[in-house]
């Protein structure tokens, strides 16, 4: 245990005893390994649904890690992040199903999952680059608007261009991903065996693959953060003019951050489409973009473990607690004898209905309260913590620097 701790610490080049991030990483790693085992024990072997949900949560973790590069590292607000998610998912639907047979192409395409992942990733990154190249020259907050517009356009394109996308119905029966090799065992309810060309249907397999993908992403993004690029992003976020004068091609590095974010989104979208075996234009709206943004902001912009924790927490709240809440509320009302609360009348939809309506308000309150009360998020990065508490450089005048010095 101790050795593992120091190993992890050395990966982060910091002393784990002083660095809460290392501890969080360690806990996360442990949690990821323990989760399926614990679930199977607690539910006596019928925890597939929860494991599957955890794999879905992984999709959001990937999304949050990617958006964090854009928002947290480079300080760009992307409000249409779900558009790239949609592009990834639809790319998979186009190149890994029978669907193309029913389009003017009349020829089904079946690209293997692992290649499709890359295709989806590059498609999204390309879209990001095309969108970002002209916009990133403009004032910072114009990007927020352009991405918002883009985020509204893309799902509508997929819905309206029905000759190609079968419109609102979406595209279903996407290819099941396959692994060249997989190990069966008691965890899948089989005897030990090595299986070739293994179709990934089992939730546990998705879970394991997801965990590996997330781990790889964390390592890569962390490398980026500590590189020349990471420094340039930080500098651009703080002072674009100074960064440019020091030789940083500000548009270039912002474009890179934006495209990397888009690539993550496309990658996650491909995985999402493959796992769900279905894509529909309704799954990529503004609320999805906002959900991911909330994950990043609440977790702690710029800090990878924070963002992961934020993603898991918000995912759990939105997909686990909130859907069950109406039922619980009405059960509770019944149990205390206030059954009248449960019957709809006039504008009152019944307690369950009313609780169901809380979603928007909760979303909004999380965003507003986080920014007001803990703008650095739950697990902030060091810079962000100070930056958001003390305000930006504009309020540092020469006078108060002098005062500090004396």
């Amino acid at each position: 245990m101790k050795r593992l701790l120091s190993r992890l610490g050395s990966i982060l080049e910091r002393d784990p005893r002083k660095d809460p991030n290392a501890v969080v990483f360690l806990l996360l790693t442990f949690g990821v390994i323990a989760f399926p085992i614990a679930i199977q024990i607690v539910t006596r072997g019928s925890g597939s649904f929860l494991i599957s949900q955890a794999a879905d949560a992984g999709v959001y973790v990937l999304l949050a890690i990617g958006l964090n590069v854009v928002v947290g590292f480079a300080g760009l607000l992307d409000l249409g992040y779900a558009a790239f998610f949609a592009i990834g998912a639809y790319t998979y639907a186009f190149i890994a199903s029978d669907h193309m047979e029913f389009t003017p192409i009349h020829q089904a395409i079946h690209i293997p999952f692992w290649i499709a992942l890359l295709v989806g990733m590059f498609a999204a990154a390309g879209a990001g680059a095309i969108l970002g190249a002209p916009t990133l020259r403009l004032r910072g907050d114009y990007l927020a608007i352009v991405t918002l517009g883009f985020g509204e356009i893309v799902p509508r394109l997929f819905r309206n261009a029905s000759t190609w996308t079968s419109g609102v119905n979406g595209i279903s029966a996407l290819d099941t991903p396959a692994l060249p090799i997989w190990l069966n065992g008691p965890w899948s309810g089989d005897a030990f065996a090595i299986v070739q060309n293994f179709k990934i249907i089992d939730p546990l397999a998705y879970y394991v693959i997801m965990a590996i993908l997330v781990a790889i992403s964390v390592v890569l993004v962390n490398n980026l953060r500590r590189s020349r690029m990471g420094r340039a992003w930080m500098a651009v976020r703080e002072d674009e003019v100074a960064a440019a004068a020091m030789g940083v091609n500000t548009v270039g590095v912002k474009l890179l951050a934006f495209s990397i974010g888009a690539a993550f989104s496309g990658f996650a979208g491909t995985f999402y489409g493959a796992k769900l075996s279905l894509v529909s234009p309704e799954n990529f709206g503004f609320t999805v973009s906002i959900t991911i943004l909330i994950m990043v902001v609440l977790g702690g912009m710029g800090n990878i473990p924070g963002v992961i924790v934020g993603a898991l927490l918000i995912y759990y709240v939105i997909f686990n607690i909130l859907p069950g809440l109406p039922q619980q509320a009405s059960d509770f009302a019944n149990s205390i004898g206030a059954t009248s609360l449960n019957s709809p009348s006039g504008d009152w939809p019944g307690l369950a209905g009313e609780v169901q309506r809380l979603k928007y308000l909760i979303f909004g309150l999380i965003l507003v309260l986080t920014m007001l009360l803990r703008p650095q998020g739950l697990l902030p990065s060091r810079q962000r913590a100070e930056e958001l508490q003390k305000g930006v450089h504009e309020d540092t005048t020469i006078e108060d620097v002098n005062a500090e010095a004396t």
């Binding site: 002209p134 114009y142 927020a144 608007i145 517009g149 309206n160 308000l361 999380i366 507003v368």
Partner: protein, 347 residues
């Protein structure tokens, strides 16, 4: 000596690929306009006049909302995402107030509606103003010195809060708005110009003229323009920045509240998340006209209203939103200062 400096001027500016993209975009826009024009000609003038009337009325509402975006952006450079929802809230509040002021469908079209309706307008506008001032006080002011991302995210959050409140209030359904205005109209050149259309255009027009006069003449208006130019210098001149900014939010919300009421009276239906797309349309209008520029917002609103009406009337309406958002992106990319130029100094 200068001759020895004859070095090749480095081509820093436009790469040829940029020019190609510009050209393609211009061709695409011209093509779309051409198709539209063909359809307009094909359908005859009376239909066109009808669409035009509708477009102007629609545009007047967008303009009212766009003014709020433009004023707030002009003064603190915040894209106030919640503004569109305040517009919806204006509609919701007024539909709640109507029965209190004794207005219901039975009085529709009579002269007796004028005074109560005026009262509803004023109360709605004041409530909206008060709400927006509170929002500014609670959610934006503490973040004024924070990194720019912070208030922007808060504004998005505030938009969800307002939508959430309206969702709790009325649910996900369309909220009917009594049809109070006379449904009569004048027939001009085969097109019917309704009293409703005229009402919308006149009321919005009056409000905008009053606003323009206020900003250019009044002390507060001057303080606003000064604050937009340079907050610190304005403060040094003894002007209360906080009050000026609050006043800007108040006025923006007053216009949005009026806009929401007008929308309800015109369309007779509202829904809790109307403000999301309506707000984006209005923001597009503000950007189109040149953000920070009051006349620009009015012009942009009118144009967006017309484009929406033309597209709905002549092309497939499922694509209207795509078109508006595409316009938004194209304007930001190719002419970020908008049609009339923005009034925001590049800092």
């Amino acid at each position: 000596m200068v001759g020895s400096l004859k070095q090749a001027r480095i081509a820093f500016v436009e790469a040829p690929i940029g020019r190609l993209v510009n050209l393609l975009v211009i061709l695409a826009v011209l093509y779309v306009i051409f198709i539209l024009a063909m359809k307009v000609v094909g359908q005859g003038p009376s239909y066109f006049l009808q669409i035009l009337t509708f477009g102007v009325a629609n545009g007047a509402i967008y303009a009212l909302v766009a003014l709020g975006y433009t004023m707030v952006y002009g003064i603190i450079e915040l894209i106030n995402f919640a503004h569109g929802d305040l517009f919806t809230l204006g509609g919701f509040i007024s539909v709640f107030l109507l029965p209190i002021f004794g207005l219901d469908a039975s009085k529709a079209g009579t002269a007796g509606i004028i005074l109560p309706l005026l009262a509803v307008f004023i109360v709605t506008m004041l409530i909206c103003g008060a709400i927006n001032v509170s929002i500014e006080r609670v959610a934006y002011r503490p973040l004024r010195r924070a990194p720019r991302l912070a208030p922007l995210i808060t504004a998005v959050g505030m938009s969800f809060v307002l939508e959430g409140v309206m969702f709790l209030w009325k649910g996900p359904f369309n909220v009917p708005y009594p049809n109070l205005l006379p449904t009569t109209g004048f027939v001009i050149g085969g097109a019917t110009i309704g009293v409703k259309d005229i009402f919308v255009i006149v009321v919005a027009g009056i409000l905008m003229v009053v606003l323009a006069l206020f900003v250019s003449r009044s002390r507060l208006g001057k303080a606003m323009r000064a604050t937009a130019q340079d907050q610190d210098a304005t403060e040094l001149m003894g002007i209360d920045i906080n009050r000026t900014i609050a006043a800007t939010f108040f006025i923006g919300a007053v216009l949005a509240g009026a806009g929401g009421t007008i929308f309800g009276l015109y369309y007779n239906t509202m829904v809790f998340d109307l403000g999301f797309s309506a707000g984006l349309f209005a923001f597009t209008a503000a950007v189109f006209g040149g953000i920070g520029n009051i006349q620009g917002a009015a012009l942009g609103g009118l144009l967006i209203g017309l484009i929406t009406a033309l597209w709905d009337g002549y092309m497939e309406s499922t694509w209207t939103q795509v078109i508006i958002f595409a316009i938004l992106i194209l304007v930001l990319v190719f002419r970020p200062t908008g049609l009339l130029g923005m009034r925001v100094p590049e800092k």
